[in-house]
């Protein structure tokens, strides 16, 4: 179990690279229209009215839905002209699909902060390994690794050791990303579809790779054809669509849950300001427990489903599909 933390570290770095590669174009499709409008000379005052009275009003004027303020928003709000000029200078040399917006930088910053935190904890925790450990951090990490191993053993069975590095990393990483939104001035990067889709794409590619490696190419084709082979004109497109839908549903589930939860928190936090004097209570407080619960469950579901997809592709006796 000692190697688990090292493997986590490696996989987290790989995931970060994948996020960096995939997050930029996806967010841009949504944001491109708005930035063009702003560039055309219309000031973003119309959207600012909606957020009036909200603490994030000045910072998040270009946002289209409620969101709790985060510190990257404030950086943008205080240096708006300089940052916009800088981004425009970068975007001038790029093709339209790869245009960078401040939102991309924001989300990737939080991803990198989370990755740095996890990496730092993993490195410092596992530096001094011993049979009878004295460091509490090491004991915690070892318990975490053993707990995850035991949990995923229910799905993966005897193959757990081979795939725990990937699915365990996914669990820890997504859990930290989800919970990051509960810290003041921070944000959950998983409330953006691009980040989730990058992770789901990793799962998809890894599952296909595992299937080809473990079954051989012929076994992979046999899996696509299905049981009665003469039904292949029907079954092959069906199976291909099934495989392609998996990453989309995986990422949309996480995205919708975290976005909904963050919006809920922001709306109830906004109510405090909207009704001044009467209710100076932290109205969003009860929903933070809900948010903790949802964050954990969604991280669990994402990684469990990744494990299930891997397990379905393995040459098992109890082959489900």
């Amino acid at each position: 179990m000692n190697n688990a933390a090292r493997l986590w570290l490696l996989a987290v770095i790989l995931l970060a690279l994948a996020c960096a590669a995939a997050a930029a174009p996806h967010n841009d499709v949504e944001q491109a229209g708005e930035t063009q409008i702003q560039a055309a000379g219309e000031t973003p005052d119309t959207t600012a009215e909606i957020h009036d009275g909200h603490d994030a009003a000045a910072a998040g004027a270009h946002e289209e839905h409620y969101e709790l303020p985060n510190f990257m928003m404030y950086i943008h709000a205080f240096n708006r002209e300089a940052i916009d000029r800088w981004l425009a200078g970068i975007n001038a040399n790029l093709p339209p699909l790869l245009h960078i917006t401040w939102l991309n930088i924001e989300n990737l910053t939080y991803c990198l902060i989370v990755i740095a935190l996890i990496s730092a904890i993993a490195i410092t925790g596992t530096r001094r390994r011993a049979l009878r450990p004295t460091s509490r951090l090491y004991i915690f990490l070892e318990n975490l690794a053993i707990g995850l191993h035991d949990f995923f053993a229910q799905v993966l069975g005897s193959e757990t050791r081979k795939y725990i590095a990937f699915v365990g990393t996914l669990f820890v990483y997504i859990l930290c990303l989800n919970l990051f939104g509960l810290i003041p001035l921070m944000k959950s990067p998983t409330s953006v579809w691009g980040i989730n889709f990058a992770m789901a794409l990793c799962v998809f590619l890894y599952v296909q790779y595992t299937a080809v490696v473990r079954n051989g190419f012929l076994g992979y084709v046999k899996h696509l054809v299905g049981e009665p082979w003469w039904l292949f004109p029907l079954m092959v497109p069906l199976h291909i669509i099934e495989e392609l839908i998996k990453p989309i549903s995986l990422s949309l589930r996480l995205f919708g849950n975290i976005l909904g939860e963050d919006t809920l928190l922001a709306v109830f936090a906004g109510l405090i300001v909207l009704i001044p004097g009467v209710l100076n209570l932290p109205l969003q407080f009860p929903f933070m427990f809900l948010a903790i619960l949802f964050s954990t469950i969604q991280a669990l579901i994402f990684s469990t489903l990744a494990a299930v997809y891997i397990a379905l592709m393995l040459p098992h006796e109890e082959h489900a599909t």
Binding site: T47, L252, F255, G256, L259, I301, T304, L305
Partner: protein, 77 residues
Amino acid sequence: MEYQAALGLALPLGLGAAALGCGIGIGMAVNGAMHAMGRQPEVLGKIQTAMIIGAAFIEALTIYALVIAFVLAGKIQ
């Protein structure tokens, strides 16, 4: 009818309809799982995992409606 008004009516109603169906579905799934857990507490962990995965699949349908609502809510303004 303006399309903003149509969206404003349709989005909450559609989300509610999706949540209704998924609520019934999750209720039935959890009902079955609870019965199974009460009958065989020794395989509690396995049943729980399967129940959570099933509930995730059911819940995803509401999430699709929620995502559509979020996408289209930007057009009301």
